[in-house]
Amino acid sequence: MSARIHDVRYRPFGGELQGSTPRAVTSMGRWSALRALGARRPWTAKVVPVVLALIALGPAVTVLGVKSLIGGDFAEQLPTDLVPYAFYYTLIGFAIWAYAAIVIPETICPDRRSRVLDLYLSTAMSPLEYVLGKIVASLVPLLAVTTLPLAVLYVGNVFFATDPFGYIGDNLREIPAILGGGILIAFVYTLMGLAVASLTSRRAFASVGFILLLVISGLGAGALAEVADLGPNARMVNLQALPVWVAQIMIGGEQIDGGDGPFAAANRPDLVPLLIANAVVIVVCTGVLWLRYRRRGT
């Protein structure tokens, strides 16, 4: 009688499967975000997101650097709002758009191109879990350019203030406004970016499509307001500025001057139409995502 030992180094899994929507969403979000930011990919894939995040941080670092260099009494004399928080978006608007245009398609297009989407939806997760995971994967990195710079600026201002606690007390309402405004901008651009990217399997097409959407809507808004003389509220179709205008109002109030360019206060519609327009954008983008991912498939 002889015996054989089969070493297949395989044991039936005795652990517990923790199948749940939050787990699937966070897992998909983490993997996709890391991939979009270049993790486990060549350095060339990491450069652009890092550079854009640094550009977004640039004004905050510059302001704080000036304060630290001047120091002492001169720093006391500098206005604490050297760069007002609400104005900050005017300085980094381009970086936010570019970041969204580059990072968001990276989270979603390769799945359709390689058809791994079929694998996800046929065994691992539901379409809703998939889309929620991709929203997390796009939104969290986007916060690095919409919330982090203002948060750094705020913390720096506290640090350099002669009376840090006094500064916090005087600027307490800015904390939820900075967080809420940044999240709103990231959320609206995330949905817009995902909706555009869901229409193609090519990252380049999705990036260009997102930028074109912003540019064309901005030009269209200008034409409606100026040429058709429909007034500032016609600029509700300006997708470049819709969430940013709301964030500026949240942070600085309706009197805040967004500077020249796309966020100029003179161009800004009233708050209620702005909120409605943002809500419409969210609903439309959600609808596009639902249409594109409602069916499981192989």
Binding site: V8, P12, G19, R115, T123, S126
Partner: protein, 306 residues
């Protein structure tokens, strides 16, 4: 490893139409063997049946239960308990095999630590241990098919469904893949349903076969010969078979003439085959051929495929 638990798949009166085309036409089926082959030509309804089993298509009539659960009502639950490898290419080329399998393990509910361990185990089990850190884009087609198989196993499913797992493989890769699949069902105790249009793939990997044609099940049987099925043998001789007939009858075999050079004998075991061989040598009749009387399993399968 023994296979236990509820029947893997029960299909009752499944009907699915795509416009005027009836993809499933009243399919009734029980799948519970360690490895079952779903055989049929392209367009026979195999893929639709697989999608119905996965709960990915809604049936017009009938019901499918997988591991005791109704796929129409508990689709998500069912899909998490089974592994599935689609026929088409579905692997991201920029990920390593280990990363992909680990990622899918986490999505299916394994903790991060378990996912890392299980990914390593299943990649070893399919013979990709050395290559697990290579990006999938650098893999051959055969290796990519193995990755697809590995990801089906990572969450320890009770049932694995493989759609045309040897599609596009060269003969050597195909042979290796079939061996791996056979090992999965035999050594790892995982029930497998394999769809294929290649008879040999099913014969080499499965214990049971279901043949589909035009949306219907035309054959549903074990692949091993049933008791009594192949016990009637036809003996063809080179010269007159009468002396051989006399010898065999004298040794107690049930034998009769079936023509000038042919005898029909009832075989009950290997000893009878040996007796025929010996009697043929003694009688000098010369054996030309000894084969089952009636259609072989291959004949039956080919007829069912149509």
């Amino acid at each position: 490893m023994p296979v236990s638990g509820p029947p893997a798949i029960e299909v009752r009166g499944a009907v699915r139409r795509y416009g005027p085309v009836v993809a499933l036409d009243g399919v009734d089926l029980n799948v519970d063997a360690a490895a079952t082959g779903l055989l049929g030509r392209n367009g026979a309804g195999k893929s639709t049946l697989m999608k119905a089993i996965l709960g990915l298509v809604r049936l017009d009539q009938g019901a499918v239960r997988v591991l005791g659960a109704d796929t129409a009502r508990e689709g998500d639950h069912v899909r998490r308990r089974i592994g599935y490898a689609p026929e088409h290419e579905c692997l991201p080329p920029e990920l390593t095999a280990a990363d992909l399998v680990r990622h899918l393990a986490e999505l299916r509910g394994l903790s991060r630590a378990d996912a890392i361990r299980r990914a390593s185990e299943v990649l070893f089990a399919v013979g990709l241990e050395e290559e697990r850190s290579r990006v999938i884009g650098s893999f051959s087609l055969g290796m990519r098919q193995r990755v697809k198989l590995a990801q089906t196993l990572v969450h320890a499913p009770e049932l694995v469904i493989l759609d045309e797992p040897t599609n596009g493989l060269d003969p050597a890769q195909r042979s290796e893949m079939l061996e791996v699949i056979r090992r999965v069902s035999r050594d790892l105790g995982v029930r497998i349903l394999i769809s294929s249009h290649i008879l040999d793939d099913i014969r080499r990997t499965c214990d049971h076969v279901v043949v589909m044609r035009a949306g219907r099940v035309t054959l549903d049987r074990p692949l091993a010969a049933r008791a009594g099925e192949d016990d009637s043998m036809l003996i063809e001789t080179v010269t007159d078979s009468a002396p051989l007939l006399a010898l065999l009858a004298g040794r107690g075999l049930q034998v009769e003439a079936a023509g000038d050079l042919r005898l029909r004998a009832r075989i009950t075991g290997p000893a009878d085959r040996a007796a025929i061989r010996d009697a043929a040598a003694e009688s000098g009749a010369g054996l030309r051929r000894l084969h089952p009387d009636g259609p072989s399993i291959e004949d039956e399968l080919l007829e069912a495929i149509g």
